[in-house]
């Protein structure tokens, strides 16, 4: 069985690419997942994915690069979350809740007026891990390295921004800059991963590892390492399962990750007071 996948990986470029892409997405989302979960912005992945839908619609109708449209839309979405959250007027999750249907509606309206409405909804929801090309991998590598550099260079600032924004600001941490940086980084991670993961799988990649890490981490750094490890284990084993049982890879990874999380929560029952 193992030899089978090794020989297929050697023979089929698309399989190699998809495996590398899965690992890179696991890394980049694993790095930002604890930040998202501790800050209580679990739906940012969904929000940004819907923003991409609007961005793609605008790009298709206005006839410019779809990828550029996706990036612009997520950057605008992230900036609007920042604006609504500025001065702590709305929590980020509220801002996401306000903006998500707005961007989705913009996308639907634009597509409804366009004769070039050819989007494959299934691919949009679950991604298509087997359609990865070399350029996607390059972009993923850049975003993964960027995520690691930005997060680890600002780990202390991000920690205080999450845990006590007022005090962080009082003692000179530019929390608005930290917030904007984190939101933009998240939008790049989502754009780079959406083709591989899709909206639903993206949500799982961004939330499950963060929740897992929260169970027992002693610092944000440790949480990031645990989240990344969780993502890699879940996605690799999910990938193998989908290969052997001929299942769609995205949903298989999500379900496997969920089972892994439930297993760890059960083992830490006392902490969660689950009866």
């Amino acid at each position: 069985m193992v030899m089978g996948i090794i020989s297929d990986l050697a023979n089929f470029e698309f399989l190699r690419y998809s495996l590398i892409a899965t690992l890179l997405v696991s890394l980049s989302t694993g790095i930002i997942s604890p930040i998202i979960v501790y800050r209580g912005m679990e739906f940012i992945g969904d929000g940004l994915s819907h923003a991409i839908f609007a961005g793609v619609a605008v790009a298709v109708v206005a006839n410019f690069n779809v990828f550029l449209g996706a990036i612009l839309a997520t950057v605008v979405f992230a900036y609007l979350i920042y604006r609504l959250n500025k001065s702590q007027a709305f929590h980020e999750s509220t801002a996401i809740g306000i903006l998500l249907p707005v961007f989705m509606s913009i996308g639907v309206i634009i597509f409804s007026k366009s004769p070039r409405y050819t989007t494959d909804v299934t691919s949009y929801l679950f991604g298509n891990i087997l359609m990865v090309v070399k350029e996607d991998l390059y972009f993923l590598v850049v975003v993964t390295i960027l995520s690691a550099i930005v997060v680890f260079a600002n780990l202390y600032k991000i920690s205080y921004w999450i845990s006590d924004e007022d005090m962080a600001q009082f003692y000179g941490i530019k929390t608005n800059t930290t917030k904007l940086l984190t939101l933009f980084l998240t939008s790049f991670v989502v754009v780079s991963a959406l083709k591989i993961a899709g909206v639903i799988v993206m949500g799982a990649f961004l939330v499950l590892p963060g929740v897992f890490a929260k169970i027992s981490a002693n610092s944000l750094k440790q949480a990031i390492f645990r989240a990344t490890t969780f993502n890699i284990v879940a996605s690799l084993l999910g990938f193998l399962l989908s290969y052997y049982f001929d299942l769609p890879p995205g949903p298989t990874i999500v379900l496997f990750g969920f089972l892994l999380l439930i297993l760890f929560i059960s083992l830490n029952r006392k902490k969660f007071e689950i009866s």
Binding site: S163, S219, L220
Partner: protein, 262 residues
């Protein structure tokens, strides 16, 4: 007022509005160097808002002048206790860029009686331990002024005693100017040099020994106030709340089994 005549906090004609609601109106006062001033007032009087304006957290009209650096001990609830941060990282915030921060944090933790707590997670500290860690954070940059917002909330009696002992020491030995909001009127009367009564505006600001019952009545309203140094001073607030929302407080008294019978 006592102590030095040098003023370290000067507030003039301060007003704060949240939308159409006027939270503070024409607040003016001066705090002399080295004094320990307690701010009292009922819930919703604008006490925390006043501190937030002084600290620059919110917009305001009027003038605030601070002659010195400020350390701040916020309310217990300000920190997300689910977040995994150890006491070292929590305390070193004001001096995070200094190379010898660990040495300084160790020194301060010893001073506040948390010398073996450096590696502990902040979320696992008791209310009293957390407030002492907050005090260490506020003091680590050696501020001239220390501002505290209800530091006693959520702390047991033992924790309170330890905390106030530290504050008294800071005032006596380090001559730090302290401005503190508290619901514990008894403790304010016991520890502070000056008391400021606030309810949207200043109703009194005088040395503690010169305080009169009329000052409290003007601030809290016309209801029965009794103060004894050995009793629970939250009683006044309970009575004040009762005078405003009798049904709600009756329910709570029944539930908690601590009805007050005069």
């Amino acid at each position: 007022m006592r102590n030095s005549s040098e003023k370290v906090i000067v507030v003039k004609d301060l007003s704060v509005k949240f939308g159409d609601v006027e939270v503070l109106k024409d607040v003016s006062f001066e705090i002399p160097k080295g004094s320990f001033t307690g701010i009292i007032g009922p819930n919703g009087a604008g006490k925390s808002t006043l501190l937030k304006a002084i600290l620059g957290f919110i917009d305001y009209e009027g003038m605030i002048v601070l002659n010195g650096t400020v350390g701040y001990v916020p309310q217990l609830s300000s920190f997300n206790r689910e977040f995994p941060m150890n006491v070292y990282d929590f305390v070193r915030l004001p001096i995070r860029k200094e190379e010898n921060w660990k040495e300084k944090v160790d020194e301060l933790l010893k001073e506040v009686g948390l010398e073996r707590f450096g590696q502990k997670l902040v979320g696992t500290l008791s209310g009293g331990e957390f407030q002492r860690a907050s005090l260490a954070r506020a003091l680590i940059s050696k501020p001239d002024i220390l501002i505290l917002d209800e530091p006693e909330a959520g702390i047991d009696e033992m924790g309170k005693a330890k905390f106030y002992e530290l504050l008294s020491k800071l005032k006596e030995e380090d001559h730090i100017t302290i401005l503190m909001v508290s619901h514990d009127i008894g403790l304010i009367f016991e520890k502070c040099d000056n008391v400021m009564c606030l309810n949207k505006t200043i109703h009194c600001h005088r040395p503690t020994e010169a305080m009169k019952i009329e000052d409290l009545k003007r601030t809290f309203g016309e209801f029965d106030i009794w103060i004894r140094s050995d009793d629970h001073y939250e009683v006044e607030h309970e009575k004040y709340e009762h005078s405003r929302h009798p049904e709600a407080t009756n329910d709570r008294r029944q539930r908690d089994g601590n009805g007050y019978n005069k």
